[in-house]
Symmetry: C3
Subunit: 458 residues, 3 copies
C-alpha cells in the first residue's frame, strides 16, 4: 500500500480520563497519538493500545497539535516543561471552569496565552464528555465549539474534530472562550426566563382558581370540594397558562412592528426588554405547547373520573325521580361542538408548529416556509384557541352567580392577553400599514433618500 | 502567535441589509471583509466593525472571492466598475428573482456570465436570510445550495459556507441556477398536489355526508340535525380521507410492480403520472397522518359532547320508562372492542411511521431498516385501518335503511380504494411473482443475456 | 471562465445498476466520470450522459480513484485487467456480503488486498442504495461509513462523499470492513434483545391476566368473559410491561453504581451482562414509551366501549330499581383523581424524554442537559408511574377476593421491579455515598495515591 504519508500525529498532555478517551478516539480515526506524561515509565494501564508515551517535552516536540488535557490548577506546574518547546505549535485547551464561574474571572485561554505567548491557542472539545468519546457518539451531542484568534490553527483543529466524527462549530475568536468555558455549567440557560414565566403563571392561575372555586365553596357554602385540587382546577389553570403563553409568543412581534412603523426603519435597536422577549419566543412557544398537551390529555380523561360518573348518575336519577328531562336545543349542541372543534383544530395546528420546531425539520424548510408555518399558522391557532375559550365561557361572565367574592371565573383573565394581542394585530393588517411595514422590513428607511436604499438584497 | 498567514479576505459589493449581515458573519468566523461601495466615504453606520470600505474597483481587486449583494436591477450599473478587474475572480451571485418568476426568463447568473465572461460565477447563499445571518443560526435553515460550472470555484465557496457555520449543498452546474433563484418564491412546492388531493377529498367526503345525513333528515323527516356539521360529520369525512390517502400511498408502488413485471425490467421509465405519484408518497402519507391524528382526538372527545350525553340520558330514561333493557351479546362486545383495538393499533403504527419520517431519524436508519418500517409496517397499518373501518360498518350496508336517497353510508366509498389496493397487492405475494419482482428490482432484465447482467451491485 | 484545473476524474469499473447511478451522481456534482467496461463498445444505454466509456485498463489508468462496482463473485475475473495498472491507486470497494454472512468468512476488502497488495483499499458507499443515489437524497440515509488503512486515501474518499452531498463517517481501519459489509443484512441489530424482552413480557403478562381473569371466571363461575381479550386485558398487560421496562431502564445504572462504589474505581469493566444491559437502555426506554402510548390511547377510548356503556346503564337501572345510590366520599374522588393525574404527569414527562431522544434534539443539548433530562426527569417519571399503579390498585391486594386461584391481580407483579429499583436507588442518595460516587465517576480511585489522580479532566 502506498502509505507514503505517515498519519498525522497529535500530542496529548495528561493521561487522565479525558486524555485517554481522546487518544482512543484519535487512534480509531487513523491518527497517531503520543501522550506526554510527567512520569512516562509509570504510566496508567488505561491508556489506549497503540499510543506512544513520552515525557511532556518529547511528546510536544514531536507534534504540531498539542491537546492540553490537564486540570486547570495543574497547568501552571507544566510551564517549565512546555515553555519554548510549545512555541509555534497549536495548543488546544479543552478545560472547563470548575464549579460556578466567578464574575470577571479570566478564561483559561487568557492564562495560557500569558504563559505561552508564542503559541496558537485554540479552545475546543470542552463540551465533549470523556464517556461519549469512548462509548461511541451515536446518542450524544457531537457539537464541538471551536474558537481561536489564529484562523489557520482553528481550521486545523476543526478538521481534527471532523476526522474524529464530531461536528465542529466555529465560534469566532478567543474572546468567546469564557462563554464556552462556562457553557457546561449552565442548564438550559435560554430557558431560565420562559420557565419562570410559565411556572409563575401556573402558580398564579392555580391559586386564583382555588380561591374562586374551593375556598369560596368552603367558606360560603361549607362544601368540601378540595378533591378538585387534583384534576379539575389544574385543568382550568393549565389551559389558561397555555393561552396566555401563546399570546406572549405573538405579542412582542406586534409591539416590534409598531416601533418599526413609528421609527420608520428597522435599523434601530429595540429596547432591551423587547429584544430579550423576542429571543425567547421559541421557548415560550414550547412551554405553551407542553401546557396545551397536558390540558388535552386531562380533558380527554374527564369521563374516566369517578366524580364525573357520580354527577351523571345523580343527574339522571333526579330527572327520573322528578319526571323531567333537561332539554337541549340545537343551539346548545352547536355551542358545545364548536367549543370542542375549535380546541381540537387549534391544538392540531400547535402540534404542526411543534413538529416544525424540531431542529432537523427546521433545517429542511426554506426560510419562507418556516416563516409561513410559525407566523401564519401560529396566528390561526391563537385565533382558534381564543375562540375555544370564548365558546367555553359563553355568556357566563354576564351572570352574577359566576362571580365568587366578586372574582370573575378564570377564563376572563385568561382571555385578557390574547384579546389584547389580537386587537393590536388587526390594525397592522390595514393595507397601507402592512405595505409600509413590509418595505421597512426589507431595508427601506423612511428618512433616507431613495437613491441609497436601492442597494439592498431583497 | 504564529499568524504567518493572513486571514482570507472576502469582498462584498453592496452595503445593504444582506451585505452587511453577510460581512458581520464573515468577520465573526475569522475572515477579513472589504466592502465595495459606490460612495465609500458616505457609508452606512450599519456596516460591521472591523470591515474595510473601499471603492468597488479597489475592493474587488483585493480579493479572490467577490460577493455581489446588489439588487438585480442595479447590477448592470456596476458593469463599468467591475469589468476587467473581476476577470479571473470568483463572483458569488446571491440574488433571487423578485416577484413571481416569468416563464422562460433568464436566470441572473446567465446575465452575469454575459457581462463578465472571464469570471467564475457561483450561485449561492440566496436562500439565507439577512436576519438569520445576524441573529444566529440556531433556529434557521442552514442549508446553502451552491451551483457553478467551475468546480474549483464552487468548492471554494462551499468551504466559505462551512467556515461561516452554514451547510453547503452541492447543486451541480449553473444550469440549476434558475431553479435555485425561484426556490424562495415557492411555498412547499412538493406539497402542492398532495394538499390539493387532501383538501379535495375532504370537501367531497364532507359534502357527501352532509347530503347523506343532514339534508336527507331535513327533507325526508323534517329534522334539523345541522349541529352535526361541527363534529359528527367531520369525524366521518376525516377518517375516510385518511384511509383513502393511506391507500393512495401504497397503490402506486403496486402499480409500478405490475409494470415492471410486464416489461421484465426496471430500466424503463414509468408513465409520467405514475412517476409523479411515486414522488409524492411521503407527502400523501404525512397528510394522511394529520387526518388520522385529528380523527383520533375527535373520537376520544366524543364522550365530552353534550349531544352524546343527552342521547345517553334519553336512552336510559326510555329503558326505565319502558321497563326494558338493551341486551348486548358477547359478540357485540367483541365487535366493538375489535373495532377500537384495530383502530388503536393501526394508528400506533402510523405514529411509528411518522416518527421514522423525521429527517434526523431517517438519517440514522439504514436503507433496509427504513424500507422495512415504511413498507412492511405501512402495509400492516393499511390492513388494520381497513379492518377498523369494516368493523365500524359491519353488515349495515346490507340494510336498506342505511341507504338515504339510494346513497350508501360514507364508509362504503371510503373502503373502495383500500380494498382495491389490497386486492392488487395480494397476487404479488405469490412466490413466483415475488421472486421475479425481486430479481427485476436488483437489476435483472428478462430479455438480456445472462452474461451481461452479472455486473451489477447487489 | 478560468477553468485552469480540470475537474477531478473518477473511474467506475462496472456498468450495472449501482455503477451507473453512482456515475450520474458524480457527474451532477461536477466531477468527470469514466466507466471501465469489459465491452466498451456494446455498452448499456443506462449509463449517464457525459461519461466516458473505456476498457477497464484504460479507465483505471486514467484516474486516481477507482470505484469497483462489480459483484463479488466477478471481481476475481477482473484481476488480469486490473493488476499492475491499479498499483498506487485508491480502490473503493462498495460491495456487500450477499445473503447472510458466514461466521469467520473473510471480508471482501481482505480478498481485494490479497489480489492487489500495492493498492490503497477503501471500503465505502456499501450502505447507499442505487435508488437513493438516483432519486435524490432528501429522504434517504446519507451516511457513508468509510474505513481504510491508508489515512490519506480514506480522507480523499470521504471528501468525495461530501462533494456528492453525502455524509462521510470515519469508521477506522479496514479491520472494521467486515462489520460494514454485514451491516446491511442486519435489521435493527441493537433492537434484537430489547424487542425480545418487550414481546416476552407482553406475552407473559397477557397470559397471566387471561388466567387470572377470563379462565378463572369461566371455570369457577361459568361466565364467558372472552371479549375482554380484545381491550380490557391488553390494557392491563401493556401498562404492566411499560412499568417493568421503565424500571429496567434505571435498574442497571443503579447496579453499576453499587459495583463502582464497592470497587472504588470506575476503571474496571462491568460484568458482560451488565455492560450489555447498560447499552440497550435507550431501546428499552423507547419500547417502554410505545407501550405507555398505546396504554394512554386505549384508556382514553374506554368510554367509547359498548361494554362500559352497558355496565353504566345496568348500574343506574339497579340503583333506580333498588332505590339506592352508590355513595362516594371525597376520599374516593381524591384517590381516583390522583391516580389519573399521576399517570398523566408521568406520561407527559415520558413524552419529553422521548422528544429529547430524537437524534437532532440530542445533538442540540449539551451533555449536562441531556443527562439532566434523561436521568432526573426519568426517575421522576418512574416515581409518578409507580404511584399511578399503586393508586390504581390501592388496598385491593389485601382483599381475599382479589386473588383468583391464589394468583394476585396483575398490578402486584407489575409493581415488583419498580419497587426494587426505587429501593436500591434510595441509599445512593445518602450524602456520603452520593459524594463518593460522584468522585469515582470523575476519575477518582480509592486505592490510588492522591498525587496521580490530579491529572484528569473535570
Amino acid at each position: 500500500m502506498n502509505k507514503e504519508v505517515a498519519p498525522q500525529m497529535v500530542c496529548i498532555v495528561g493521561t487522565g480520563d479525558f486524555g485517554s478517551s481522546f487518544g482512543k478516539r484519535l487512534l480509531r480515526s487513523g491518527l497517531a497519538v503520543v501522550f506526554g506524561s510527567r512520569n512516562p515509565k509509570r504510566v496508567s494501564n488505561r491508556l489506549p493500545e497503540g499510543a506512544q508515551v513520552l515525557s511532556v517535552r518529547q511528546a510536544v516536540a514531536a507534534c504540531d497539535i498539542v491537546v492540553l488535557a490537564v486540570r486547570q490548577q495543574h497547568q501552571a506546574a507544566l510551564e517549565g516543561q512546555l515553555s519554548s518547546v510549545i512555541n509555534g505549535k497549536i495548543l488546544v485547551d479543552v478545560s472547563n471552569t470548575e464549579k460556578t464561574p466567578v464574575q470577571g474571572s479570566m478564561p483559561n485561554t487568557s492564562q495560557l496565552h500569558m504563559l505561552y505567548p508564542q503559541t496558537s491557542i485554540v479552545k475546543a472539545f470542552n463540551m465533549i464528555s470523556a464517556w461519549s468519546l469512548q462509548a461511541g457518539l451515536d446518542d450524544a451531542c457531537k457539537k464541538v465549539f471551536v474558537c481561536a484568534d489564529d484562523v489557520n490553527a482553528k481550521r486545523k483543529v476543526m478538521e481534527l474534530a471532523w476526522i474524529m466524527g464530531l461536528e465542529a462549530v466555529d465560534k469566532g475568536s478567543l474572546a468567546n472562550a469564557k462563554e464556552l468555558e462556562e457553557y457546561t455549567h449552565q442548564l438550559f440557560p435560554q430557558w431560565r426566563i420562559p420557565m419562570r414565566v410559565t411556572l409563575g403563571l401556573l402558580l398564579v392561575f392555580y391559586i386564583y382558581t382555588i380561591i374562586q372555586d374551593v375556598l369560596f365553596s368552603y367558606f360560603e357554602h361549607g362544601m368540601d370540594r378540595s378533591f378538585r385540587l387534583a384534576i379539575s382546577l389544574p385543568n382550568k389553570a393549565i389551559p389558561s397558562v397555555a393561552l396566555t403563553l401563546l399570546s406572549l409568543v405573538y405579542l412582542p412581534g406586534t409591539l416590534a412592528a409598531y416601533i418599526q412603523l413609528r421609527r420608520g426603519t428597522k435599523y434601530s435597536t429595540f429596547p432591551p426588554w423587547l429584544h430579550n422577549w423576542l429571543l425567547v419566543r421559541k421557548q415560550l412557544g414550547l412551554a405553551m405547547f407542553g401546557c396545551a398537551g397536558v390540558h388535552v390529555i386531562i380533558s380527554l380523561a374527564i369521563p374516566l373520573r369517578v366524580y364525573v360518573y357520580w354527577k351523571w348518575v345523580l343527574s339522571i336519577k333526579q330527572q327520573i325521580d322528578g319526571n323531567w328531562t333537561t332539554t337541549y336545543t340545537s343551539i346548545d349542541f352547536w355551542q358545545r361542538d364548536l367549543y370542542l372543534i375549535f380546541g381540537i383544530l387549534g391544538f392540531s395546528i400547535l402540534v404542526l408548529l411543534a413538529i416544525t420546531s424540531l431542529p432537523s425539520v427546521v433545517n429542511s424548510l426554506s426560510w419562507r416556509e418556516f416563516h409561513f408555518v410559525q407566523s401564519k399558522l401560529g396566528w390561526l391557532s391563537l385565533l382558534l384557541c381564543t375562540a375555544h375559550t370564548i365558546c367555553y365561557g359563553r355568556l357566563r361572565f354576564l351572570r352574577p352567580e359566576s362571580y365568587h367574592w366578586g372574582i370573575p371565573p378564570l377564563y376572563i383573565p385568561a382571555l385578557m392577553l390574547p384579546c389584547i394581542t389580537i386587537s393590536l394585530k388587526l390594525p397592522l393588517l390595514l393595507p397601507f400599514l402592512n405595505r409600509e411595514l413590509r418595505m421597512i422590513r426589507q431595508g427601506w428607511t423612511r428618512s433616507r433618500p431613495r437613491a441609497e436604499i436601492e442597494m439592498f438584497h431583497s
